[in-house]
Amino acid sequence: MRLTAYFVILVVGCIVFEIIWRGARVMNWEFLFSMPRRSGAEGGILPAIIGTFLLVAGSIAAAFPLGVATAIYLSEYARQGRFTHAVRVAIATLAGIPSIVFGLFGLGLFVIFFGWGCSIMSGCATLACMILPTIIVSSEEALRAVPQSLREGSLALGATKWQTIWSNVLPYSIGGMLTGTILAIGRAAGETAPILLTVAAFYLPRLPHSAFDQVMALPYHLYVLSTQHPDTAAVQPKAYGTALVLLILVLGVGLAAIILRIRVRKKYKW
């Protein structure tokens, strides 16, 4: 038993160490802040970093308000019933749908049906659908953690339900909600399959002009460099560098979530 648990640690250590060790060698300002040249064999990964940043920002901007609103409904208003049950089943289903199927869905709905083409808009919308369940579930948990007495006190003073939620429930659960959102950021930044079908440009050494432009993204760039490039050996250092940037981004975001969670727990002890 102990062996199985430690084996997991060992493997995680190996992966992280290998990527850091080999990726650190190509890490410099030029790699981070310049355009790629010769289809990625030289130069940097700036457009991919910007692309990932835009996709994450866009999808969170769409999914956060929707997710929080759904969570408020589920935790504060919903009664046991058919509708609530259906919403819960839908959320569980969304959480389990494979990312490539989200890609197909994005392709069918946003790219073709809405006519947005392969664009940042389509990608953000697809990713937003994908991360919605993460945000809903963690926000609902945060709302439920607020003790009932806070609500009852406010209602007893004559506040309406919404006033109660707005001034006595939300302020205490916002930390927990942000934690969930940060986790969603990590997921959105690391996913490749959905953006493969809805946004990603193979090689596009310029910055996007509008929301309907294609863009490069870190995970897809890593995939291209490691398997699709004609000269895989030559771009290998760059691939390690890209993997490192992506790993730092995702794990850094995860670490922020853990720290925030600890601080929130310390601040509100009921």
Binding site: V101, G108, W162, T192, G254
Partner: protein, 290 residues
């Protein structure tokens, strides 16, 4: 009165956003079926049961899904054989045997593993695991179903571990205490009391893990070699359903038979993961304790 109406409006608004999740799920089904359905008319559904996947060919294309389904099956079964002992073992260790300090160290590591993007795991597999498998088993290429299964197991372990751990934790203390009081050893208690009591939860965890494995795309596509043939030998190269969609969707003409066929693959994936998830949710809600 004004407050009353404001409250009603806000409630209605929240209800609307909540229903959005349902709308999205329905949209996913509708749009994937919408793109796939014309395939049933021409070349016809029978085509999908063929044993050859040759989507581009100068003579005769064929869109038999069998090699893709067996490919996914082989990889999934292998991955779960690796995942179950490690995932459940780690869960039992963390929840029952580890001292608190150990637990605080182990849990973040499992969370980190869950957070590593699949494309990074795939890249690691390509650079380290594939050459290793090649030299270790003396194969012509390391791009095999086995390599894919190892990577998938890595990705499924966090899911299985964390849900199994929850299940183990929710076994009432009194069960364990009763067993210990009867003179059973600690291991015997775990093996004969705690694990059986948590078994439904562990099963649900395995099902959710399987769902994740079936749907995983990038890592599998990078290391399994992607040759569409029917095989059950772990050291052959296979092509999974997810990898087929991801690799070929970029090159197909919109509206062609090939394009429709890829959406049919999507339906198979969607329906199988949907069934797994619903089953897991049923088990979880039926046996939820504490």
């Amino acid at each position: 009165m004004r407050h009353y109406y404001k409250d009603r409006i806000i409630k209605l608004f929240l209800q609307l956003t909540a229903s959005l999740s349902i709308v999205i799920v329905i949209c996913i089904f509708v749009f994937i079926f919408k793109e796939a359905v014309p395939f049933a008319k021409r070349p016809g559904l029978g085509e999908l049961f063929g044993t050859r996947w040759v989507p581009t060919s100068p003579q005769k294309e064929s869109f038999g899904l069998v090699p893709l389904i067996t490919g996914s099956l082989v990889v999934t079964v292998l991955a779960m054989l690796l995942t179950i002992p490690f995932g459940v073992g780690a869960a039992v260790y963390i929840s029952e045997l580890a001292v608190p300090v150990e637990r605080e160290i182990l849990k973040p590591f499992i969370e980190v593993l869950a957070g590593i993007p699949s494309v990074v795991i795939g890249f690691f597999g390509l650079m380290v695991l594939v050459p290793f498998v090649k030299s270790c088993f003396g194969l012509a290429t390391g791009l095999t179903a086995f390599s894919g299964a190892v990577l998938l197991a890595l990705m499924a372990i966090p899911t299985v571990t964390s849900i199994s751990e929850d299940a183990l934790r929710s076994v009432p203390r009194s069960y364990k205490e009763a067993s210990l009081a009867l003179g059973a050893s600690r291991l015997r208690t775990i093996w004969r009391v705690t694990v059986p009591a948590a078994l439904p939860g562990i099963m649900a965890a395995v099902m959710l893990g399987t769902g994740r494995v079936v749907g995983e795309t990038m890592a599998v596509m990078m290391v399994t070699g992607n040759s569409a043939m029917i095989t059950f030998w772990p050291f052959d190269s296979v092509r999974t359903m997810t990898a087929t969609i991801a690799a070929e969707m970029g090159e197909v003409a919109f509206g062609s038979d090939h394009y429709r066929a890829l959406f049919c693959v999507g339906i198979v994936l969607l329906v199988s993961t949907f069934a797994l998830n619903i089953a897991a949710q049923k088990v979880l809600s039926k046996y939820r304790m504490g």
